[in-house]
């Protein structure tokens, strides 16, 4: 294909492209992609304003809401006591042996062993090394400074970049970019500030999140009649719906309230419901097994997902552990092309289970108020274990047989969190409480991010993270100002979203390639 210097197709090329499009071919995309690339000036390329090829294929975002404040210096940027000098004893540093180097990587991996979790008699024996070794090439850690130590506010800012793009959430942006044609582009299973809607009222209603609080049972509502004992056959159901629709089209009620946003939305949602039914999501997304009498699916004409056994094996606690149930559903939502953005995360409630009887402590990462070290270790281990299973499933799931891509190749996991934790501790204390601190870092996992990379760094004598140039990635020791928009832009840039008109900073440093 030869493009004119102004980036436009020749007449012959245009006719060829249009005929391909008319035939339903997806090969129009390369023409557009080439057109797009030709629009880039050398200055654009130098500034890093790269525009990804429009391949017409979706990309997926999984936001893991690490509620309560997941500290990056208790994980991948941990500081050894031996590095911190005179301050080591009274700051959150670890005995040298507990902070493990990762070969050929800037990351660290923390090992913690305590007989109990604060006042809870549950041992904490965790080691992050295996996870980091396995995924370091797909990991990026970006340091950050937030602007709120209020949980709900900070949670929301972690997904909006503090209103970086008109108040849109990352999930809404992804749903807008890639979610057209998806039945439920944006599904949110988290709560608090992570579950809040963005504030850009210009967004179409289709990108707003569908809230799910019970991932195991929610799929039962994805069909209007299947599983309802004694309900008529599908053909009869449709006749009844048609009668309803015919009458509503001319009803006094409908005419009276025709300007009501609620009614307009309702009518649009009715149409969407038909799409959900057509995809048999009541089966495909159903993780729970046929287990009478507690779960008598087959007696009600229902069935477990074809992937149910595989997913249950990956997340054996799906029935009792909400976080595992969320991760299971998240995989299925992506696999069946229902969603492009899914949010999951542990909540503040105690969940019993796991190897030692406790799967989630009260307040999740915020348990650090009571016992920082063990609380952080426990929760990071919980997070990473679930992510390991989720990524394994995504890697095994083909996305495009033609290119050999897996679902993982097109997915970015962003571990959002409220804020960091305060660094001071009583001299050499192993068990101590911490408060909320604006200084922290975020973890991202994806083949789409610049892997095995730390953007920014940590100043050992203070254990504070310092910033970086989001365009070049150059570390900037001493930079401590808020960079919420950089993180927001970084996620979208790595995914290859179109940021035209966003006003977002150039965050090319996040992107792979």
């Amino acid at each position: 294909m030869s493009l004119k210097r102004n980036g436009r197709l020749s007449r012959r090329e245009m006719l060829k492209a249009l005929s391909l499009a008319a035939a339903g071919s997806t090969t129009l995309s390369p023409f557009l992609a080439g057109c797009r690339q030709a629009q880039q000036t050398p200055e654009d390329v130098e500034r890093g304003l790269r525009r990804d090829a429009l391949d017409g294929k979706p990309r997926f975002l999984i936001v893991v809401a690490a509620a309560g404040g997941a500290s990056i210096v208790d994980s991948f940027l941990a500081v050894r006591a031996g590095e911190a000098g005179l301050n080591a004893a009274r700051l959150n540093t670890f005995p040298d042996a507990q902070v493990q180097a990762v070969a050929n990587s800037p990351f660290r991996a923390v090992r913690v062993s305590n007989p109990r979790l604060g006042s809870i008699p549950v041992p904490v024996n965790t080691d992050q090394l295996a996870f980091v070794n396995k995924y370091k090439d797909d990991m990026l850690v970006a340091t950050s400074v937030g602007t709120s130590v209020n949980h709900v506010i900070a949670q929301k800012r972690s997904i909006t970049g503090n209103a970086a793009w008109k108040g849109r959430t990352l999930q809404e942006c992804v749903a807008l970019q890639w979610g057209q044609g998806f039945a439920l582009p944006n599904v949110n299973m988290a709560v608090g500030g992570f579950g809040e809607r963005g504030t850009d009222t210009s967004m179409p209603a289709s990108v707003y999140a569908e809230t799910v609080t019970s991932p195991s049972l929610w799929p039962l509502g994805l069909d209007g009649s299947r599983g309802v004992r004694g309900a008529p056959a599908r053909a009869e159901v449709e006749l009844a719906r048609q009668a309803r629709a015919d009458l509503e089209a001319s009803s006094v009620f409908g005419a009276t309230f025709q300007d009501s946003d609620a009614l307009k939305r309702w009518n649009a949602q009715r149409a969407e419901g038909a799409r959900l039914e057509a995809q048999d999501l009541i089966t495909r997304l159903n993780v729970i097994p046929d287990l009478p009498p507690r779960v008598p699916l087959s007696q009600y004409g229902l069935a477990s997902s074809p992937d149910g056994a595989r997913v249950r094996q990956a997340f054996p606690g799906f029935f009792d552990d909400p976080f595992q149930a969320q991760a299971a559903l998240a995989f299925l939502l992506l696999k069946y092309r229902v969603s492009v953005a899914v949010t999951i995360g542990p909540d503040f409630n105690v969940t019993l289970g796991g190897a030692n009887g406790l799967a989630n402590p009260p307040l999740a990462f915020d348990f650090s108020h009571n016992d920082h070290r063990s609380g952080q270790a426990f929760m990071w281990a919980r997070l990473l274990a679930n992510l390991d299973q989720l990524i394994t499933l995504l890697k095994a799931e083909p996305f495009d047989p033609a290119t050999g891509e897996s679902l993982w190749d097109r997915t970015l996991i962003y571990v959002a969190t409220d804020f960091g934790r305060t660094r001071p501790r009583p001299d050499n204390a192993v068990e101590f409480g911490s408060g909320h601190d604006l200084n922290n870092g975020f973890l991202m996992l994806s083949p789409m991010v610049k892997g095995n990379t730390v953007l920014g760094g940590v100043e050992a004598s203070s254990t504070l993270c310092y910033g970086f140039d989001p365009r070049t990635g150059t570390p900037q020791p001493g930079k401590l100002e808020s960079n919420e928009p950089d993180i927001f832009s970084g996620v979208l840039t790595a995914m290859g979203a179109d940021l035209s008109g966003s006003g977002l900073p150039d965050a090319s440093a996040f992107k792979n390639g």
Binding site: A183, P232, A243, L247, Q269
Partner: protein
């Protein structure tokens, strides 16, 4: 207010308020209202409709069909649809577990499907109870059938049932076009269903109960 009027009002208030669901009143003759021209109707300027939410839906569906609220709908025969399984999809809150303290105030994409489930469940329950014991029927009664078919879809009995269901669910009399359309539905179902009378009863109940007018206020 004059004392005698106050006394009369009080008595009436007691009569009306002592039993908020059903009261024993002499039957009102069936009324079918002429269909107005929807195009010329005065429109609401505020358009302030509110979705009923899980508790009100369950209560209204139960009252309309003479069911216990807990019998309106259960998933897999045991899990309450409105107040447990689909609570959030219906606009409810879940404060103690996941910490959903406030409802978004707007319907979800899945809400219409859940409404359909509630309506099918409640209507099927009432239809089956009434057909099983016609002498004790509460709602679906007095409609002549033969071999599972309505004897006369255009008869007065069918029209009366439509009036009754509309009154129960929408607290008004039906319009002529509604009766006409539901009669057409009966004929359509005759052509496709193995048990058209039952299917029609379920379906007209479903169509009314799951209508926007029924679930918003």
């Amino acid at each position: 207010m004059r004392p005698e009027r106050l006394l009369a009002l009080s008595s009436l208030a007691v009569a009306l308020s002592g039993c908020p669901g059903r009261i024993i009143e002499p039957p009102v003759p069936p009324i079918v209202v002429d269909t107005p021209d929807a195009g010329s109707l005065a429109r609401s300027a505020r358009g302030n409709l509110r979705f009923k939410g899980p508790e009100r839906l369950q209560a209204d569906f139960a009252a309309a069909l003479e069911l216990q609220p807990s019998d309106v709908c259960t998933e897999l025969g045991q899990y309450q649809c409105a107040t447990f399984v689909h609570n959030v999809a219906l606009g409810g809150v879940d404060p103690y577990g996941p910490g959903l303290y406030e409802s978004s105030g707007i319907t979800a994409v899945t809400t219409p499907l859940v409404i359909d489930r509630l309506a099918w469940s409640a209507c099927t329950k009432r239809v089956d109870l009434d057909l099983l014991a016609p002498g004790l029927a509460q709602v679906f009664r007095g409609v002549p059938m033969s071999n599972g078919k309505l004897t006369n879809p255009e008869g007065q009995e069918v029209s009366n049932l439509i009036v009754d269901l509309t009154r129960r669910a929408l607290t008004r009399d039906p319009y002529a076009n509604e009766v006409t359309r539901y009669v057409k539905l009966a004929k359509d179902l005759e052509a496709t269903s193995a048990q058209p009378a039952r299917a029609w009863m379920q379906s007209v109940c479903f169509a009314i109960l799951s209508s926007a007018e029924s679930v918003f206020y």
